[in-house]
Symmetry: C2
Amino acid sequence: MKKSALQRVRSEYQPKLPKALQGTVKIKIGPATESVADQEEIKKLFPHTYGLPIVEFEVSKEPETVEAPFNVGVILSGGQAPGGHNVISGLFDGLKRLNKENRLYGFLMGPSGFINHEYMELTADYIKDYRNTGGFDIIGSGRTKLETPEQFESGLKILKELNIKALVIIGGDDSNTNAAVLAEYYKNIGAGVQVIGVPKTIDGDLKNQWIETSFGFDTACKVYSEVIGNIQRDCNSAKKYYHFVKLMGRSASHIALECALETQPNVCLISEEVLAKKMTLDEIVNYLCFVISERAKKGWNFGTVLIPEGLVEFIPSMKDLISELNDVLAVKAEELEGLQPHEKLDKIEKMLTPSNAALYKSLPRHIARQLSLDRDSHGNVQVSLIETESLLSEMVSKRLSEMKDAGEYSGKFSAQHHFFGYEGRCADPTNFDADYTYALGMNAAMLINSGLTGYMSSVRNLTEKSEDWIAGGIPITMMMNMEKRHGHMKPVIQKALVNLDGRPYQKFASQRDTWAMETCYLYPGPIQYFGPAEVCDRPSMTLLLEHDKDA
Amino acid sequence: MKKSALQRVRSEYQPKLPKALQGTVKIKIGPATESVADQEEIKKLFPHTYGLPIVEFEVSKEPETVEAPFNVGVILSGGQAPGGHNVISGLFDGLKRLNKENRLYGFLMGPSGFINHEYMELTADYIKDYRNTGGFDIIGSGRTKLETPEQFESGLKILKELNIKALVIIGGDDSNTNAAVLAEYYKNIGAGVQVIGVPKTIDGDLKNQWIETSFGFDTACKVYSEVIGNIQRDCNSAKKYYHFVKLMGRSASHIALECALETQPNVCLISEEVLAKKMTLDEIVNYLCFVISERAKKGWNFGTVLIPEGLVEFIPSMKDLISELNDVLAVKAEELEGLQPHEKLDKIEKMLTPSNAALYKSLPRHIARQLSLDRDSHGNVQVSLIETESLLSEMVSKRLSEMKDAGEYSGKFSAQHHFFGYEGRCADPTNFDADYTYALGMNAAMLINSGLTGYMSSVRNLTEKSEDWIAGGIPITMMMNMEKRHGHMKPVIQKALVNLDGRPYQKFASQRDTWAMETCYLYPGPIQYFGPAEVCDRPSMTLLLEHDKDA
């Protein structure tokens, strides 16, 4: 494998471990736990894995003993996140420390590799090339949902064939929910296979009291903040554009919020706030126009606006419109067939209830077209394809023209659009994520060796030095509640949305008016690996603020 | 000014200087020069500044003497490029070294600040915050062309008012051409004002035997390569998308070529090659489809394609079409008025000559619409707005469907689009660009102090250690020839296109088939400032290869 100069040097980096994981570990078992809500229902669904204790590892004074050898399988599930390769490296090193005979198998391209028996053995030589690198290309990832007994049984066959005693699933909230279901299933049938989850997602929505952050969030946000900072420098140099920047985060706005704290843009929209205040699309547009026209009064016809990818689905009126569109387009499909696009749009408008028709009419034509014509395989509007950044900038442009005609605005408005997603999901992990993921992997090996199942690998106290991090395991059922998904009540891990009472949002909210009216851009620059600790090792501002640190 | 952690640390960086510029300098005057072509015409146009000698600075053994104080003005012209702030810092430090009483004035928002007398004095305290940072926000930039005697006279007034004896213009080929014209003008009227140019452009098309690279190219390419590398990791992890990445570079493909050398994508299109081979749009699409279908045979339905921004204008048949569209739309404006967009497109097609009509019809509808409907203020097609990345991917998608029907292809094709420009133009300069620009600025001060005018600041031997760099000045007229611009023959600095016989292109061409059929992605990672020299100080591969170094 030909490598870049940075790849070559960076491959030598030895991730820093918590003290407890540096040698032989001793397990400390806490009291039994309860799920965060719906205790009775969760308990009924997980009779064998409910109520397990939180465990913590401590430095052991005992001499290292060689355990009987065992094999482990690992799956990367869902979207890429920086650090996945280090989870696997840490897991591998942990297994080898326990017994040199231990083997690690990787299932290829996500859960489907497990179900279809596509796998490879991960050797020291093979893993070497992937240490401290981004991406999930070491074994690939995939989005197949691991949730049916048929899948569990099919997977069990290959586990037995390879003599695997534990499966590690690296994934987001859904994958970890499924890991818990699988753990319960194997426990119930006495399969003799443990299941351990590892918290991954750059969206940052898998976190709670015990999982302080999911891995990859830190790195991805730093990449996005780097390019946002660069764009802001350009914006402040040329002084002639408004840059509308859409960022990943469909179900939560943690990324947008973190990037805002890192870069201090003129505007950052937070989906959770839009929902809480029941804001309409018009109100959002008006807020943007207010900021733009106030800046124009100072002669500033430039600025930056950060937008979370999922915004549209958090605007109650847009959600209503999309829902009615889904119905109308299904029911009236025949009437609409064969029409020219522009005729179709006019006809659809007439089919909608008056309030939705008005909103539909107010949208830029190409967005209305996108909503009506580009459907997924179930015939539904593809919300993820909506170009929210141009939706907003075009509506702002139109509104500003009206304001100009009314004598309320006399600036110039010209917009540039950006969407950052793939740019950050596979970046080489920051020192923080490299250390954190390596520890999560090593810790998973220790959880397996302790005979546990249905646990999530947990490394906490992350705002302190890595040697003081606390390593252990949290019963996944403890993080669950019952939620409606696709019409059915299901046990799931609670998604962590941006908490409007939390310090990260509060800090943002307390400063945003200044950022809007002044030009306070910060330029974080690229991720650094070799410089002073305050540049290289600082965790995300979200994490610092959530843990009462200065940021 | 609130700063990020990296900004704080990086502001302390002391750029490395060539030996010759570290103390008192001695000037070495070379033989008289000739322009690269059209000597007689250029000589006639520049009677006072033609034929000047190349000069070089050497270490002087003389003790430092304090010269009589003088004032200097500086202008940032055109698009942002990383390192502009260090040119100004180097210029400032050079002036202060010559005499603490020297003053530096910055004209605001580009040449217009010079013409309209908008300026500020640049003090040590003010400059401090901008050292080693990207952007042109220290005084702003602008695109006003400085080319008429009225502008020269208006500028002269403020120069006299501020007692400025030399003007430094930091810009691209056009701005440096204009600097030469201004130098000649002031010399001719005996204004007593020297003019010095500094070679800036991230596009990399201002370079020749004496100017090895324009500043900013190194940094911008490294930022683009970072995100392209990240996207390639993602591509190779998810294995389900083709990423079409458009990169800056309208008139030359140096950026695309450099990024290809840094990241080894599956395909990189080079405009200069397309022109040389007179390739049609269809041939380009067929080449892409060939690569995609061959990869599909291996089960690989993913890949990356780099596209230079200016590609469309290098395809002879597209150029013809655009030219005829410009005519037709001007002449037949009345006939087209009031028509619905789709009617208009149909009508335009009938107005074109058969070959252009066929090409027009083959384009995706939204591209045809863009070509026909979005016009600039002169009524011309706005080539820069054409979404070449989606033009290509849509035509590829269509062609692949046809191939599928014909049994020639059986893969899956799904595309993602990216365009990187603003992300890199204002990044913090790499060590290379930080050192290079600081030297260029310091060097400009020495050229001024030597009484020269009509020179470009030149720092050469850039692939060696910075202490061995050669500093001096090149008469701008020496780089000129006559070219047709807007219908008139004008003296201009020759633009450097990608040389198809040069080592950078040759290296690319010799490897691209392997890159296309295999998966050889490189992941350069983010720019590093503090690590080992091979990671932090390496110049661009283009520069290394052009100077017969390994890369």
